[in-house]
């Protein structure tokens, strides 16, 4: 099984755009940022070589100019690899990874509903977690979305 | 073949044992000393820093200045989640928890508790006891 240092080494060695950019925050916490178009390659490499077989969740982030997704993946070795990709705010298209991780469908729907990502290749299903009546253009987790003042 | 009725002995033994439950509204269980029940406010100690008001997750505390170094506290107990963070936040020990837990009320107004500033005796309106269930 790989350890944290080997994972860093292996990722930096394989992908030149990651050289020196793999951040190890502490033992078993690896953070990388990859270009959106190379993400799939990195993920498949990790699954093949780095013992990644488990997706914990996806986190969507609103970073003002861009939107970002963090894929929290891990494996039997317990190392959490956090792969971040950035997409432009006006065209937030990401590709589904449900073919690799079938459990991922609801996490990707959540990105769509709460942050307005467009997930390509997502299997059809109900929206999650918002109600069917919720307006499609309201994305609550975007920073510019403010809830109506609650009547107190 | 396994015979059903594994628990027979256990059940028969318990017929004569004291039950584990109590007849609640008539018999009350005492809460431990450190139980986080209704919050009490000691107006004499308050210096008006409003840290409790700021840290309250439920926004149920309001500290009002009523005079020179005199402060009153207004608690909305229907919103309080009894986390006692305000007790931790207070640097002057002006807040403390009490083991009182029977706080349900049919009248929402009774859950609006005002702890008056020092001159007047701290008179908390006590909510009526919950309706007795026969």
């Amino acid at each position: 099984m790989v350890n944290t240092a080997e994972m860093k080494q292996s990722l930096e060695g394989k992908f030149d755009f990651l050289a020196g950019k793999v951040a190890v925050q502490r033992e078993r916490r690896v953070f990388v940022e990859v270009p959106a178009d190379r993400f799939r390659e990195v993920l498949e490499f990790s699954m093949k070589e780095l013992g990644i077989d488990w997706i914990s969740t996806l986190t969507g982030l609103d970073e003002k100019e861009t939107l970002a997704v963090v894929y929290h993946v891990s494996g039997a070795h317990g190392i959490v690899l956090n792969i971040k990709i950035r997409v432009p705010r006006d065209n937030p298209v990401i590709h589904s990874v449900t073919d690799l991780f079938p459990a991922c469908a609801n996490y990707e729907r959540e990105l769509d509903d709460l942050l307005g990502f467009v997930v390509e290749g997502l299997p059809p299903g109900n929206r999650y977690p918002l109600d069917d009546n919720w307006p499609k253009d309201q994305k609550p987790l975007r920073k510019d979305w403010k809830p109506a003042k609650a009547a107190s | 073949m396994k015979l059903p009725g594994k628990m027979t002995g256990e059940l028969l033994r318990h017929v004569l044992k004291t039950p584990a439950t109590v007849h609640y509204p008539f018999v009350k269980v005492d809460m431990p000393d450190q139980f986080r029940g209704k919050i009490l406010f000691i107006a004499e100690k308050c210096v008006g820093c409003k840290l409790c008001q700021k840290d309250c997750p439920a926004n149920c505390i309001v500290i009002n200045k009523v005079g020179d170094k005199r402060f009153e506290a207004v608690f909305e107990l229907d919103r309080c989640i009894y986390c006692s963070q305000c007790v931790d936040s207070c640097n002057k020990d002006a807040l403390e928890t009490s083991p009182e837990y029977e706080l349900a009320s049919l009248d929402r107004a009774s859950l609006h508790v005002v702890f008056h500033a020092p001159e007047a005796p701290p008179a908390a309106s006590t909510p009526p006891a919950p309706p007795k269930v026969a």
Binding site: - | P4, G5, T8, L11, V15, P19, T21, H23
Partner: protein, 315 residues
């Protein structure tokens, strides 16, 4: 037959009033034992009465689709049938209030009538849950009724009579012979669980599956009557089983002692029922039917055969 004593028998003792009181007391004992076996405090002594009075004071709601006549008639009919059966069961002497050759069969059939009333009441309330509950009631009936009949009739076979008073009188003469019927006693207790719709055979009213089952649409007085019917049925069935299977001390004792003995026997049977319903998980309907036909019915059949053979062997 004098009118006044007859009315007294029917209405007060051992008729409606006594029987209702006994049934309610039986329910209390059952619930209390159930609770105490589960280490709970259980209800106070007046709880069944309080429940009954509360239900009486509530509004009767009848679904728009339901057949009003049958819907209203069934609780009354069920209670009447159960109450009538009480008059034919010997309590603390070999002599019940009324007796004739063949009354044991009549009592058994009278005890079946409430079950049919549950079925019809549920069926004609046109509720889905009640419909399913009704079907389950009937399915169960076919599973437990035959073993119950065989089990209760086998002591009668041994005694050579279809009259309850003669059966009890026979066992007064031969008290030891009652031990031959122990298997039948067990079968009767298990079948009673089905008749009284208690766990593990409470499928007609399994609340986590079909809400209220047969009684889903019933409320108020009508539900109170149904509940009382079950209480009275418990009393009658327990008395019948005690008279047939535990026939000791039915004659030659002072009235008070005999009555206390009768009470003890009935309480013992209620205790057994409470223990069994506390002990098990609910079966599915297919498992229930399978269990009854695979184990209970053959056991009852063996009991019957043994008694037929004993009949020829014993003096």
């Amino acid at each position: 037959m004098a009118l006044v004593p007859t009315l007294f028998y029917i209405l007060v003792f051992p008729g409606f009033l006594f029987m209702g009181a006994a049934g309610v007391l039986g329910e209390y004992v059952d619930r209390k034992l159930h609770a105490r076996m589960q280490n709970r405090a259980g209800p106070p002594w007046f709880q069944p009465v309080a429940d009954f009075i509360k239900l009486l004071s509530k509004e009767d709601l009848i679904p728009a689709d339901a057949d009003r006549t049958i819907f209203k008639l069934m609780p009354v009919l069920a209670l009447t049938a159960a109450a009538t059966a009480f008059l034919y069961v010997p309590l603390w002497s070999t002599q019940p209030l009324y007796s004739f050759e063949g009354d044991v069969v009549v009592v058994l059939y009278l005890l079946t009538i409430p079950t049919f009333c549950f079925f019809l009441g549920g069926w004609y309330s046109k509720s889905l849950y009640a419909g399913i509950g009704s079907m389950r009631t009937l399915t169960q009936l076919f599973a437990y009724e035959v073993p119950l009949f065989m089990a209760i009739l086998s002591p009668a076979v041994l005694a050579g009579s279809w009259s309850l008073s003669e059966i009890t009188a026979y066992y007064q003469v031969h008290p030891g012979y009652a031990f031959f019927n122990l298997l039948g006693f067990g079968v009767a207790i298990v079948a009673l669980l089905g008749k009284l719709e208690k766990v593990p055979f409470d499928l007609p009213e399994a609340e986590s599956e079909i809400v209220g089952g047969t009684f889903t649409e019933y409320s108020g007085r009508l539900l109170a009557f149904f509940r009382l019917t079950i209480d009275v049925e418990t009393g009658v069935a327990a008395s019948l089983v005690s008279a047939v299977f535990l026939p000791w001390g039915m004659a030659g004792l002072p009235a008070a002692v005999a009555f206390a003995l009768y009470g003890a026997k009935v309480l013992f049977i209620i205790f057994l029922l409470a223990l069994l319903r506390t002990l098990f998980a609910r079966l599915r309907i297919d498992q229930m039917v399978e269990f009854c036909w695979k184990w209970i019915a053959p056991a009852a059949l063996i009991q019957l055969l043994v008694n037929v053979i004993l009949c020829g062997v014993l003096p």
